[in-house]
Amino acid sequence: MKCDVCESEATVFLTQIINGQMTTVNLCDACSQAKGVTDEMGFGLAEAFLNQPTPTNDVTEGVCEACGFTAAQLKKIGRMGCPECYSAFRDGLDGLLKAMHKGTRHVGKTPSKITQSRHVQGNINHLREELANAVRDERYEDAARLKNEIDRMLNPTPDAV
């Protein structure tokens, strides 16, 4: 398989879903490094950003009050400045996450300091709200996904891990 950028033999093969479409990218080692695709890292944030239409102006104008990181910097480097940035740039994040991940909500390990019940209950209430909205807007695919998530939380399958 050839590299999508140059003609060298590809050594890195990535598939991701962007805006509901599956994209396969084959890269050679040199190009994968140039594009910042590294051994330990997930792929495509920069690409996803480039391919995303900027939804509103505030995404390029906002600033994180905790660290001073700006939306323009975020767009440019594809990484956040500090943990608080996720609140500062929350708008438009969901679309981005949908393109990158299986879901937009964390369902994995929870720090034990956060009481489990509050966490789950809060999540379920929030999910139910989102489910109602999805049904109202006739977004049935989202609704099905949310329903699955709720079911999963109410009946947690014991993890083999």
Partner: protein, 373 residues
């Protein structure tokens, strides 16, 4: 523990064998974790990184897993030493490229490493021999829970563990398996397999690729998604895929033995002869020949060959390992000489390949490695 002591010992995963270790070299799981109140390393001032190291290192060093381990500040580490740790998969290339305000800790057996101020404040990595993601996960999960008790993690109920790059959000977990797939490569079946794996949302890369091919027939498969799935689900999905790849490789090996014994024996024999007698050995050539020799050992063409000898040699001939041993920087030409020398020495007592026909058929029937389903 001294750096020298650490590196003079083979890592646990090089010696031990795990499930499917004739095809799966290692299973690794790493977690990305960050602290509240500190900017991510990529957007921080040096004094902030130093402050974080000062806060975090005592907690990391106090972990029971790190007892008698190795821990060092990057300001005190030479480029070669950092590179040696990269070659041992203990730290990432990106982390090794950094200097002030970074630190690393490695447990005594090199099963566990913690990078401080990589792309995230913490990268906690567990590495096990063979197909053993679950045991690697259990290790990092435990260490993570211990650290969480001592340090204020950045965590969000909806987004999970907050990471510098949104591609790591949620579990912050990257699970990866390193596979040795010589028979699929020899029979030109590697690309369809890679394509199929890519289609299900996993990333595949050659381990030592330098622009042309996957050197040494070593491939790494890892998850791309970290948000919206549980750690156990992500691991199960990778395991399922890996078991299918193992099956393909096993079948390809069987087919080579049955349909192409002359070619197989020729390849293994040449690899053995060159490695035993060469005086100039480039890195690329060595990796590819060692791959064939390993295949020969797996198929019992080379008898009494300890696989860990080859795995250890694979590391010893890497550039930084050679330089560390020499105690100085080496030019590529000097490295090729020393690489050949150390290879000849290590393989000195290894007997040559026997005839395929004189041997028992390979132990595994094509389907014997099928997972119970």
């Amino acid at each position: 523990m001294l750096f020298k002591t650490l590196i003079n010992h083979p890592a646990d995963w090089m010696q031990g064998s795990g499930p499917h270790s004739e095809i799966v070299m290692t299973s690794r799981v790493r977690l990305a974790r960050n602290l509240r109140g500190f900017p991510f390393p990529g957007y921080s001032q040096e004094h902030q990184r130093l402050e974080l190291v000062q806060l975090a290192r005592p907690c990391v060093d106090a972990l029971p897993e790190m007892k008698d381990g190795y821990s060092e500040d990057y300001a005190k580490l030479s480029k070669t030493r950092k590179q040696v740790m990269v070659e041992r998969h203990l730290v990432s290339r990106e982390h090794a490229a950094r200097a002030n305000g970074c630190a690393v800790a490695v447990d005594r057996k090199q099963n566990l490493s913690i990078m401080i101020n990589e792309e995230d404040h913490f990268r906690i990595q567990g590495i096990r021999p063979g197909l053993n993601l679950r045991s690697a996960w259990q290790l990092v999960d435990k260490v993570d829970t211990e650290l969480e008790g001592a340090l204020p993690y950045a965590y969000d109920e909806k987004l999970g563990y907050l990471t510098a790059c949104p591609t790591n959000l949620g579990t912050g977990m990257r699970a990866s398996v390193m596979l040795h797939l010589p028979a699929l490569a020899l029979t030109d079946q590697i690309n369809p397999v890679i394509k199929a794996v890519g289609k299900i949302g996993l990333a595949v890369r050659g381990l030592y690729g330098e622009g042309t091919e996957a050197l040494g027939n070593l491939f790494q498969i890892s998850n791309q998604h970290t948000l919206g799935e549980k750690e156990g689900e992500i691991i199960s999905q990778i395991e399922k895929v890996i078991e299918r790849v193992i099956n393909s490789e096993t079948n390809a090996r069987q087919k080579l033995v049955e349909d192409n014994p002359n070619m197989l024996q020729d390849q293994v024999g040449r690899a053995y002869a060159i490695l035993r007698h060469a005086h100039i050995l480039a890195s690329k050539e060595a990796l590819n020949l060692l791959s064939l020799l390993r295949l020969g050992a797996d198929l019992d063409l080379i008898s009494n060959c300890d696989r860990s000898l080859l795995d250890m040699l694979l590391l010893e001939i890497q550039p930084a390992h050679l330089q560390l041993r020499a105690g100085k920087d080496l030019s590529p030409e000097e490295r090729d000489l020393r690489r050949a020398e150390i290879t000849r020495t290590r393989l000195h007592s290894l007997a040559g390949p026997s005839n395929v026909s004189n041997n028992q058929p390979p132990p595994e029937a094509p389907t014997s490695d099928l997972p119970d389903e």
